[in-house]
């Protein structure tokens, strides 16, 4: 099962990224678990300097922007 984590404290971009990641995973038809990480100390532990950030199976894929659904599909593949 793919583990998808959205790092961010809940700003509009964080919500957009979560929605886009959800849409991408659904479009691919994969089994996944989407988790929102909002605790700042947990976010820091990923080594990121900006939010939102997308993490797939423990690897940070993008930081500071909301990629398109098509871009995210490639990150999930």
């Amino acid at each position: 099962m793919k583990k998808i984590q959205i790092l961010g404290t809940g700003c509009p971009k964080c919500k957009k990224l979560a929605a886009a990641a959800d849409a991408a995973a659904k479009a691919l038809g994969i089994e996944y678990k989407l988790e929102k990480v909002t605790d700042i100390n947990e976010i820091i532990n990923f080594g990121v300097m900006m939010t939102p950030a997308l993490v797939v199976d423990g690897t940070v894929k993008v930081v500071g922007r909301v990629p398109s659904v098509d871009e995210i599909k490639k990150m999930l593949a």
Binding site: L7, G8, T9, C11, P12, K13, C14, I40, N41, I43, I44, F46, G47, V48, M49, M50, T51, P52, A53, T59, V60, K61, V62, V63, G64, R65
Partner: protein, 130 residues
């Protein structure tokens, strides 16, 4: 990294600073200059080791930076080469030997640190944001 709280992407992307932090006196000056620039809000010191180790969070955050300053103590250019080998080429580079600081002959005193930080700030230029 406890003091490096991430910015929300709704604001400007950070300006990141990578000092070589090498073993010699000029490495210490590079390190302290980066910390001075961070304290002064000019940019944010970030982890060169994470670039070398291709740590995903550090790599992706660096891709998102609005500007990058690399500070090397000497002509070995370890920090510059680390960034280049990781695929980053758009950065400003400060080599302390170019501003009169010779390895082994430049104790990391307040004057040298301030001079290095000043030159670093000049290279990064005005503007937002740390």
């Amino acid at each position: 990294m406890a003091d490096k709280k991430p910015n929300c992407g709704c604001n400007a992307a950070p300006r990141l600073i990578f000092p070589c932090s090498g073993a010699a006196d000029v490495g210490a000056i590079a390190d302290q200059a980066a910390r001075t620039l961070t304290k002064d809000g000019v940019g944010k010191m970030y982890c060169l080791a994470g670039i070398g180790g291709r740590v995903s969070g550090i790599m992706e955050s660096t891709k998102a930076a609005s500007a990058i300053l690399v500070i090397d103590g000497c002509p070995q250019d370890c920090a510059k080469n680390t960034l280049l080998q990781a695929g980053f080429s758009k950065f400003k580079h400060l080599r302390l030997s170019d501003i009169g600081m010779e390895k082994g002959k430049s104790p990391a005193d307040a004057e040298r640190i301030s001079k290095a930080a000043g030159k670093g700030a000049e290279l990064l230029g005005p503007g937002c944001c740390a």
